[in-house]
């Protein structure tokens, strides 16, 4: 099963490499990983999506918790949560039919065309990973020139917060 694990860690040099190293060292899988500082500059928030059975995911959260730089770990998929990923996708758009189709599909997915040249469109799309996958599928891969995805960020619904 796919899990979204949120981690609050000290904003220290080397902290990220400890997390990434742990995953490779213990043969855990990483689907995506994002990391950035929070409103408290001493803390970074890291989100990792991974696939594994209950035993593996339990080990992942326990082993993450053991890292000294890590302050808190939560498996967001255990409760109601919101998941978002940002994608920018550059596509060949060199005739009217294609341009119209990309525009139409982008509207349906509530994306935005953020760059236009005579031969290309670049679309920005935000949503759960599955929505981004669906967008790619809807347009087909033949026109895609480049895809960049931010990796998943997540947050719990309601009043639950991950903080120190």
């Amino acid at each position: 099963m796919r899990h979204i694990i949120s981690v609050l860690m000290e904003n220290e040099p080397g902290a990220l490499s400890r997390v990434v190293g742990l995953f490779s060292q213990r043969n855990f899988n990483i689907e995506s990983l994002t990391v950035a500082p929070t409103e408290d500059e001493t803390l970074s928030r890291l989100t990792v999506t991974t696939i594994g059975d209950d035993r593996v995911v339990e080990q992942i959260t326990k082993q993450l918790n053991k890292l000294i730089d890590i302050v808190k770990v939560v498996d967001l998929t255990e409760g109601d949560h919101l998941e978002r990923e940002l994608m920018m996708i550059k596509m060949k758009a060199n005739n009217g039919t294609v341009r119209a189709e990309i525009k139409r599909t982008t509207d349906i997915f509530r994306g935005t065309i953020i760059d236009v040249t005579p031969n290309t469109f670049t679309v920005q799309l935000v949503g759960a990973s599955s929505k981004l996958d669906a967008f790619i599928e809807a347009l087909g891969t033949s026109n895609i020139m480049e895809v960049v995805r931010s990796g998943v960020s997540g947050i719990a619904r309601g009043e639950k917060v991950l903080s120190v």
Binding site: G14, R18, Q25, N65, I70
Partner: protein, 573 residues
Amino acid sequence: MELLSGAEMVVRALRDEGVKFIYGYPGGALLHIYDAIFTQDDVEHILVRHEQAATHMADAYARATGKAGVALVTSGPGATNAVTGIATAYMDSIPMIVITGQVMSHLIGEDAFQETDMIGVSRPIVKHSFSVQRPEDIPEIIKKAFHIAESGRPGPVVVDIPKDMTTPTDRYEYEYPKSVKMRSYNPISKGHSGQIKKAVDMLLAAKRPVIYSGGGVIMGDASDELIALAKELGCPVTNTLMGLGGFPGTDPQFIGMLGMHGSYEANMAMHHSDMILAVGARFDDRVTNGTDKFCPTAKIVHIDIDPASISKTIKADVPIVGPAQAVLKEMLEQLQAAKTKPSAESLKTWWEQIEEWRGRHGGRYKTDDSKQMKPQQVIEMLSKVTNGDAYVCSDVGQHQMFAAQYYKFNKPNRWINSGGLGTMGFGLPAAMGVKLNFPEEEVVCVTGEGSIQMNIQELSTISQYGIPVKVICLNNQSLGMVRQWQDMNYESRHSQSYMQSLPDFVKLVESYGHVGIKVERYEDLEGAMREAFAMKDRMVFMDIAVDPFEHVYPMQVPRGSMRDMWLSKTERT
């Protein structure tokens, strides 16, 4: 407040932490620190002949005392030579501080002379690591390093210090912190009472209980609590390789080590038990054998300070996270307060079964089919001559298993071996580390002619500091454990497992100024051993010729259950 340079702060902080000895080897990046060592008398430096030995000395001190040992190595090759020692400590959860020199800050990343990214290299084998960025942080970093290394589940901590952090002319106010607080690190201090209650109820209801205890009892200083609990329950106790000495080896409730080379009765008792109380042990693959066949009728209570050790390989029915000492203490209190007692009748039946197993195969080896001395006989003699009281520091291989099986450890912290990593070359420096700190105690290195040659250069360190350890070398002229596997699985094709061109060990140690004794006949063994131990202030190397064809038994059949064992070259369960 006193003004000190970074280099002086390193040494002063070690002094203020109560460190008596540090083990190390100088080099360019450490010259300022070595100069600071020269100008004081509080911390004594022991110059090894290879950095690996420095780490093993520090490690063994920690195993004997529970306090972190300290090694000091220079950047680049000095640091990488320490890697095996760090990994050894990591696998066995041993507190250790390894201070590594680093090139000047402005050179980092430029492939400077003797530069290695030691934080990166050591990352998977440390509990934590620090890179010093500002000299004034040194006291706090060292305090944190000790705190992290020694608390919770212990482990090695690397402190990487660029040379410019120790410049003698840059001086800062020095104050050693009394304590440290870290929001991201709060080791647990007691177990969950509700979980302990569940475990107690299960223990009271159990008909065939076994206590399976490991290194967590030794490092967690919980031997007394374990003994008290076992006495209250009246059940059998087995120890892991790392847990030997946690329960007295001569106590009738002790049924030996368990696992791959565990005793017949311990493995049988585990397999047939209905309740396993695991304390400070981690269900390692050398213990469980095939996990899908592991102890099919047993409910499992698992006490460990590291939640990640619980249900990692074998699912626990009742997990209890906490330090062994505190949890066992509370468990005993709850047991004593309970209205019921364990069923005496069930226990009696259980013990009859165990005694039958013990009588059938317990602790036997054959001496009649060969004129040569058996390695087991040597260990039994060692146990007799030292009254089971010596610090026994082992290398890795058959001799290690024989020592674990036949030396009767009655006290914790006295069996010092590389269990998790299985580091050949560990034994001699380990014995040196213990002997330096316990000069009045008997300290023995049990080794083989293979392992001893992996750190034999330390004979020179022993001469320099006069460290009178006793080496018991079980010389079978082959890498015995490799050879055993080749006998059992590769139709005795002994690929590269002969030890050829062996030195004359007696002459070799004599050249360093030590005493060498060669023993070839069992009749001479006791006399020679007593003679060796009578030389209190001399290092004595006993080169003992043993049967090269002996195997270690029992030996579990790979991927079988606990009870599937070879009992000799021809008998199987």
